[in-house]
Symmetry: C2
Subunit: 194 residues, 2 copies
Amino acid sequence: MARPSLREKIVESGVRTLHERGFAGAGVREITAAAGVPQGCFTNHFRSKEVFGIAVLDRYHERTQAIMDETLRDQRRSAAARLRAYFDAITAWLEAAGWRYGCLVGNLSLETPEHSELLREHLAQVCRSLTASFTEAVRAGQAAGEIRADVDADDAAAFLLASWEGAMMRMKVDRSPLPLEQFKRVIFTTLFMS
Amino acid sequence: MARPSLREKIVESGVRTLHERGFAGAGVREITAAAGVPQGCFTNHFRSKEVFGIAVLDRYHERTQAIMDETLRDQRRSAAARLRAYFDAITAWLEAAGWRYGCLVGNLSLETPEHSELLREHLAQVCRSLTASFTEAVRAGQAAGEIRADVDADDAAAFLLASWEGAMMRMKVDRSPLPLEQFKRVIFTTLFMS
């Protein structure tokens, strides 16, 4: 069996390579070169590029989920404070990358569904899991009278995830934080009680 | 000079090929085969795949803009009716494609910025133009007291475009119209006066 540390190196470096180059845009040679491992290693650890893509997506999801757990699920804070903390934490991530790479989940969502049913189904599952964290925060906000009650919590949660993904898409093209700021200004004015 | 009808065939068929396969995912061989023209034709008409991508994007933009002109800019209707007509017209398009392909502008926005500065700048310009049509409808809605006045019209317009792109992204992964319906339910409840 191959050493786990090599697989780990490929996945870890793969998050960055797929984020920067896209799924079709990153070849196995580029992926292994970026990880500093021999090209032949790849097939020892991944049956296919698709399986590698899923491992990378899971790693990225773990990190996003960790930020969500720290921010959105922090029950000591108000719903507005939780949501703001989450969007601000992701904004800091995006700024560190010079507003260039957007969200790996979003990037793969638009690129891969026609190429891989496995990746599409996995992306749908990751999005369901991310949405669930938003739903919890929205329900808490509605119960506390902070978030308007005339919007269904599941609708609002799905809308928040999709709209934030859309804002990151616009940020990526403009290489500017303005779409993220516009998202926050509109959401915090319209979804919350005035 | 090569016949214009061949270039036209390649661009027309290219909208579909790039929409279905992505930019990196569609090779010149696939593009010309889909257009039913000899592969060698491609370089007679396009200096590079990048230049071809821009021609395809312009064609797609023309079509979207035509729908916007018919719906968002129809000054006989209320702002709510204009926005609803636009989103419903695009929804009919997306349904005809089995909820599979999303929006070409969105797809290219997430895929190409790191590969082509030319395409990135062109995408930014297309998005600015699409946003302008939303801004006009939002301003009309605010002037008529239909849309809440405590949101800046430019913010609301940029937010509408980005959030709709995000909803189409989620639709594409789930192959379901639900994210589009959720977008409409939330927008028409929160952005409009109750």
